[in-house]
């Protein structure tokens, strides 16, 4: 049982990184990244391919994943410079689809739908419990690091500028903010975090395949972020851990429901995820950890009267 719990905490941590990626892009900057699975995939493949056979040590692989994610993020933002942000959604969706198709069909590059097995895990894989604990430490530290960094950024001038862009790009631009550059920065960092999550998943589970990067994962992460509270890193992290707790907890409840077939139990479990989100939103539409209202920094100069 302990092994299962630890493994679920590791998985939840990886989802927490994905959730924070969404919070940075969507919650803090207003950029809807529906292609989350695509950046997750790019980071995973970058690190898995680089560390094949021990060519490159795992920590370097993680850095490569961050870089690959960031580069992909910049490429996507550049291609959408002229578009309204509503349409970023469809472009990122398309991007994720293309990544999945390339991963499945370009067998020479990605081993195709067979996937990449035997990805190095840095720590010895047996005993399993020890391996899981080691990765729990790594992932939790990284989740915490990203959480801390996002909170600092949110309180810093950069974060405030992002929020102003989120609220009204025109006003922000008139106020002198380099809107395009900041959007690219935020999106690139967000994509890098997603890429890191992908690499962590690959090294932890030792196997990645195109089948992993389905829209359902993006949907789950968005549900988690919304329930937890978009706009705050805390909301994202809590939402992700609650998501996994819910996904796993419903297994045990479904086992106890009498008279349903395995199929019906599975349908009930999936339904429960949707119903849970709707209930959370009915009770707290802003999520569990809504954004606090920002005060203007103290010491602002009073309005100049005409002289």
């Amino acid at each position: 049982m302990e092994n299962y719990l630890v493994a679920m905490l590791v998985t939840a941590g990886i989802y927490a990184l994905l959730a924070q990626s969404v919070t940075l892009a969507w919650g803090m900057t207003g950029l809807v990244n529906l292609g989350l699975a695509g950046f997750w995939a790019i980071g995973a493949y970058a690190s898995a391919l680089a560390t094949q056979g021990g060519a490159v040590p795992v920590p370097v692989g993680l850095l490569l994943a961050l870089a690959a994610g960031a580069v992909a993020g910049i490429v996507v933002t550049f291609s959408t410079l002229r578009l309204r942000d509503d349409y970023l959604a469809i472009v990122t969706l398309g991007f994720a689809e293309v990544v999945r198709l390339v991963a499945a069909n370009e067998i020479w590059l990605t081993r195709g739908s067979d996937g990449i097995s035997n990805i190095p895990g840095h720590f010895a894989r047996t005993p399993t419990f020890g391996f899981n604990l080691a990765w729990l430490a790594v992932v939790t530290v990284l989740v915490f690091a990203v959480w801390w960094a996002l909170r600092r950024l949110a309180a810093a001038p950069w974060g405030r500028a992002l929020r102003s862009i989120r609220e009204d790009q025109t006003v922000a631009s008139v106020a002198g903010k380099p809107v395009v550059r900041m959007k690219a920065e935020a999106f690139a960092i967000s994509a890098a975090i997603a890429g890191l999550a992908g690499a962590l998943y690959g090294h932890y589970s030792s196997y990645i395949a195109p089948d992993l990067f389905q829209p359902l994962v993006t949907i789950y992460v968005f549900l988690a972020v919304t329930a937890g509270g978009n706009g705050r890193a805390t909301g994202a992290v809590v939402g992700a851990y609650l998501l996994i707790a819910f996904l796993e907890g419903t297994r045990f409840v479904a086992d106890a429901v009498p008279g349903v077939t395995p199929l019906q139990a599975a349908a009930l479990r999936e339904m429960a995820v949707g119903v849970a989100l709707i209930l959370v939103l009915r009770l707290r539409p802003q999520g569990l950890f809504p954004e606090r209202n920002q005060r203007a920094p103290s010491g602002a100069a009073p309005l100049e009267s005409s002289r």
Partner: protein, 289 residues
């Protein structure tokens, strides 16, 4: 080569037509209610199952079964909207969209719970294509689909133009507050919009089910294509939804002649990106941010 291109064009129009009807529903809901309703895929599946029940249990022929598909999806759509989305109006469009995503999962799994995963088929005959000009082929059912899509588009256009409810819908879409000032009840308009939008999705869903296969997962497969077609045409524009669906259909089918068919979807998205670069609001889009 020309022959192949023309046939691919015909195939593209056929493929696009199937998608056009649910895309109209999606755009209509966006126009009046201002949010992307991501339940649309599951509503299409719900309609397909409603039509299936009418056809196999009640023995209804095609036209009546399609009506049942429309009605079934409309009921589910309205119920879902009121339970899940309406209460979140103040939280904004994106939150409503996420809620509709969750609702889509619920509807899909209700279908799965009730019907299981086995594929089902309608008791309606399958016809071979008619060949004309010796080289081109087109299916009679597909021609009917095309005609029905055009008919529905015309009906919706007439409804919006000439009926009181339709004009109210357009008023609310243009300016909610002004519409309220004029005595139009936005809530009533919302009910009608969702019913019509969901009904269209269900109607389209049954047409798709006729051509392909009927199982609970079909909604998720369709969602991406419907959304893409609506965005391409300009979110909120009904002729845009049809144009977007047809364009995607044509681009995808023609691309098969030149590149690996496995990359069909990628081509569609490339086309969307291209169009949006030159017309940022979509083919027929006019809405401001």
């Amino acid at each position: 080569m020309i022959d192949a291109l023309v046939q691919a064009l015909i195939n593209g129009v056929i493929a696009g037509t199937i998608l056009a009807v649910p895309a109209i529903g999606f755009s209509a809901i966006f126009a009046v209610l201002n949010y992307p309703n991501f339940t649309i895929g599951s509503l299409a599946a719900a309609g397909a199952y409603a039509g299936y029940l009418a056809n196999t249990q009640l023995g209804w022929p095609l036209a009546l079964a399609l009506g049942a598909a429309f009605a079934g999806a409309a009921v589910v759509g309205v119920a879902h909207e009121w339970a899940a989305v309406r209460p979140l109006q103040k939280a904004g469009a994106l939150i409503m969209a996420i809620a509709s995503l969750a609702g889509g999962i619920v509807v899909e799994n209700l279908l799965r719970f009730a019907f299981g995963n086995e594929q089902r088929g309608y008791e309606l005959p399958l016809a071979r294509d008619i060949v004309f000009a010796e080289v081109y082929r087109i299916g009679p059912q597909q021609m009917k689909n095309f005609a029905m899509a055009l008919g529905i588009m015309a009906a919706i256009w007439a409804f919006l133009r000439w009926t009181r409810t339709g004009r109210s819908m357009r008023a609310v879409a243009d300016n909610r507050d002004l519409a309220r000032l004029r005595g139009i009840d936005p809530e009533r308009v919302a009910v009608v919009t969702v019913a019509v939008g969901a009904g269209l999705a269900g109607f389209g869903g049954m047409l798709i089910g006729l051509d392909t296969t009927l199982e609970p997962f079909m909604g998720q497969r369709l969602l991406l294509s419907i959304f893409a077609a609506a965005v391409l045409g300009g979110l909120g524009s009904i002729p845009g939804a049809v144009a977007g669906a047809l364009l995607i259909g044509v681009v995808e089918e023609v691309s098969v002649l030149f590149i690996n068919p496995a990359y069909k979807s990628a081509v569609a998205f490339a086309a969307i990106l291209l169009v949006l670069t030159f017309r940022p609001a979509g083919l027929f889009g006019t809405r401001q941010g």
